[in-house]
Every structure is written in C-alpha cells, then in structure tokens.
Symmetry: C2
Subunit: 297 residues, 2 copies
C-alpha cells in the first residue's frame, strides 16, 4: 500500500521501518530532516512538506507527541500548511499519537469538514514493541471500515482492536497508560526501598516477576532499572502528559483517581527536577538513595 507517515521519533521510526520492511511504499515527513534519513536509505521517499505528502497518498499515519502538534500537522498552522492542504475527499488519517479523546473528536470533525476522515489509532507496547512489530493498536473506528487497512496495521502490531467510534481508541489508551504508569511508579518506589534495605534490584525483579506483582513494565524495564540506565524509551514528560489526560477524564466523569494522581505527581516531580527527557522509569533516579561518592586515590 502507498502510505504516508509523519513523525519518525522514538516510536515512529521503528514503526515506519516495519512498514517499509513489510513491502509498503512509504512517503515520510518529520520536521527534523535527519529523523527520516534511515528510512530514505531503506527506500522511502521524503516529502518536501505536508501538503505534498497529503497530495501523494490516500492514507497517512501520524506518530506525534501531543494534540497541538497533531492539529498543526493535520490542519496547518500560521507558519505552514498541513496535510489537508493537499488531501482529497475520502482520504484517511490514522493518528497513532496519544491525545485526549475530546481533542481527537474535535480534530476529526474539522478534518471531516475538508472531506478527510481522521481516526485515532494509538499504540501501546513501548519502543521494544514498536521495534518488534508487536504493538497493540486501538482503533477508534468500526471493524468493517478499518479492516481495509489491515496490512498496514499488521506490519506494526500484533493485537488490533476495533473500538467502534472516534475517540474510543484514545480512551482505551489513556486507561492503559493510567494503569501502566501507576504500575511503574509503584515498582520504582519498591525498588528504591529495596536499595535502602540492601536487596539487589536484580533479586527483587526476579522474585516479583514470578509472583503476583509481575507486569509488562517489570518485564520490559528490569534490565534498565538494574543498570540505572534511564535513557528513553518513553519520556517522563509524556508519562506526565498521559497520566494528566487520564486524570482529566476521571475528573470529568467523577471517578476516584488517588493512586494514579500520586503516580502523576511523581512524574511531575521528576520533570521539575530536569529529568523530563529521561525514560519514564527514570523516576527511580529521583527516589533512589544518593550513591556514596567514588573514592579517588
């Protein structure tokens, strides 16, 4: 399939690579020229700008950090035109980014006025899942419609969910991230406690992985937590944003969210401490006991 792809960052690049590997003809765009270079080497074409990409393809995937960026890419901004500047009626945009369901619905309506169908299709499974092509994809559309793009989604994901209507993909994604990021915060608190009790993180991880505390987060992050390697991955900044969106949903719905709120505070503190561009597991860097200075001879 001839597919457009906008946003080739930590998540977007490995997904786009898997699309090329699966035989799709890719036209890519990222405002940073160097971000698309690895894909051009694999045979993808770089679009000179967003309207050109909109003109060239009938279906485009977006992988972007937040709602304002998604809106600017789709509709354009004062500085430049967006995808719809080149699109034709009937074109489809799948937004793989995680944004609030209200933003998605509003943007879908505005794109719809230009004849373009925008559908949320956020993904989960972290960078390792994006590399392995085993992501979960939560599509805010009915199965009958989305199935025509099955070869595209099969190239990036192992579990494809059709959730029936626009915005539902992002609701499920926010519910998932609420759970995942709370799990991670609790795990980091337990690890920082273990540090203080003199129990190696590797031992803690091995025991919990075989016990009732086992989780995807533990399985995927243990090696990095043991090595104190907090390189991203999934930024602290994004964890703070996603949990914040989940808390907003909870507030609007009148649901209790005390545990998630404490996790959100923790990512917020890490952000304020300048750790926003670390992996979200880097909150452990904030919690762990200070390490004794290395003696110099």
């Amino acid at each position: 399939m001839h597919v457009g792809f906008v946003g080739t960052g930590n998540m977007g690049l490995p997904m786009a690579k898997n699309l090329v590997k699966a035989g799709h003809q890719l036209m890519v765009y990222d405002r940073r020229i160097e971000a698309t270079a690895p894909l051009e080497e694999m045979g993808a074409t770089r679009a000179p700008d967003l309207p050109s990409l909109g003109r060239a393809v009938r279906v485009t995937l977006l992988s972007l950090p937040d709602a304002p960026v998604v809106e600017a890419v789709v509709l354009g901004s004062t500085a430049s035109e967006g995808l719809v500047g080149g699109a034709r009626p009937g074109d489809v945009i799948f937004d793989l980014s995680t944004v609030g369901p209200e933003s998605t619905r509003r943007l879908a309506e505005r794109a719809g006025q230009r004849g373009v169908r925008l559908i949320d299709a956020p993904v989960s499974g972290s960078v390792s899942g994006a590399e392995a092509g085993t992501l979960a994809v939560m599509i805010g559309a009915e199965a009958e419609f989305a199935r025509q793009f099955e070869p595209v989604f099969r190239a990036i994901g192992a579990s494809i969910f059709h959730l029936g209507e626009v915005g539902k993909g992002n609701i499920l994604k926010l519910l998932n991230n609420y759970v995942a990021l709370s799990n991670q915060a609790a795990l980091c608190e337990a690890m920082a406690l273990a540090d203080r009790l003199g129990i190696p993180r590797q031992t803690v991880g091995e025991v919990i992985a075989r016990s009732s505390g086992a989780s995807f987060i533990l399985e995927r992050k243990l090696e990095a937590l043991v090595a104190r390697d907090y390189r991203p991955g999934f930024f602290v900044d994004l964890a703070f944003k996603d949990l914040g969106l989940g808390l907003e949903l909870a507030r609007q719905a009148g649901a209790a969210a005390a545990v998630g709120e404490e996790a959100w505070r923790l990512y917020g503190r890490a952000r304020e401490a300048g750790l926003g561009k670390l992996d979200s597991s880097g909150v452990l860097g904030l919690l762990e006991p200070p390490r004794p200075p290395v003696a110099t001879p």
Copy 2:
C-alpha cells in the same frame, strides 16, 4: 516426607492438598475442625493439639493470617501450648505466612532458644496459584540448608527462591505485595472510570492485557472484575495489613512511598465500609458507580 501443616484456610488448604497429592504424609491442625476435614478425607491425620503435632513431625509448615497468630501457634499463649511444647532440638518450622521481617526475626530467635529453627517462607501467586501448585516461595535461609526440603516446596511452588537469611523472605514478599496491591488499586480505579465512560470491563481488560498495563493481577482477576464477583481469594483485610507492613519498612528506611500509601488508604476505606472479608479486588465495589435499581414489575 512426614510433614506438619498448621492453618488450612484459603491459601493453606490447597497447599496442604498438593502436599498430600505429592505423596507426603501430612499431620494437620487448624483451630476450626471443619477446616481440616477435606485433608483427612485424602488421608492426612488431624493432630489433637499443637504440642502433639510438634512431637510427631520434624518439619512443619504454617499458613496463618498475621504475626500474633504465628507467635501463638509456635510459642503458645496463655490459653494453650504451642508447637515448641512438643518439638525436639533440630526441628524446623517454615512460616509461609506474610508477616513483618522484624516479627520473623524476633520469633526465630525465641524459637531458636528452644532449639527450633524458624524460617520465613512466604508464598505468592494467589489462591489459583496455590491450587495449581505454581506459587513463588521466598525462603529466608541459605540454599544449602533449604534444599533438603526441596520435595516439600516443589509440591506447592514453581519458583523457589533462597534468600540467605531469616526475614529476607518476608522483605521480598512485602516488596512484591507493595507492587501487586498498588497495581490492583490502579487497575480498579481505571475500571471504575471505564464504567463511567460506558466502556465494558471486558474490553478494557482485553486491551490492557495486550498493552503496557498488562499484569499478573489483571490476568488473574479480570474474570471476577467483569462478573463483579468479589468473593475471596485474598481478603481486603490482608491487603491492608501487607501494604501497611510495606509502608512501615519504607518509613523505617526513609523511602518515599506515596503511591503505595494511596493504595493502602483505598483498602483501608474498603475495610471501614465493611468489605474487609471480600477479595482485595473488591475495592472496585467501593469505586464503581452505583447501579441503577432494578425495576420491579
């Protein structure tokens, strides 16, 4: 092996059954006579009292709710004698219960003065793991010593950890339960939010199980959460106790524990609401929106 077993409740009974099935000769005791009846039918012997059990066997397992009960069973109380009343020097007691590491160390010291070696060996994996014989067992002793009881532990567990010294088993167990019970609290918050947004719990569970929020808790509890079946399982009361012990460790060590503390508050509120003897996932019963009354014709 000829083995004693004290405490045949929700966790103890399936473990004791697996010991009998594996060919061990079991002598059992529980203060409730009816609690040991299923084991007697399988060929186990019921001890008339704790000192008799202590006299008859050289190794005994305990599965009890908390530290005061463990102490009364081992050392006796004003009302009755304990296991050590009949034990011989060199006898071994493995305590499968979850108690604080300090309680374990103190009790091990007092039992040691009577020549009896008490070792913490808490288990994890919930009732379903106890039934399947796939528990994790966290043994507070060195491998060289504990390995002689391998056939006993293999009958109840799939993962046997040797943690080197008394109390360490319980530290690992409390770290695990800190994580598991926090995971569960966050999951219940997300489910109660989904309820309010009109998303079926089954859909939420299926999506998260394939995404970064996947966990042992979700896998084991989803069916019950969907059915609103909050029968135990593992009591709210015990979740509150275990998280409380974890928070005490954190306080003593000077570790941050804000996420776990909110989870603990949630189990505490469920307890105060009279839900203490529900399964710990029953906190969802506290969080879920009130259901519309069923119309009567």
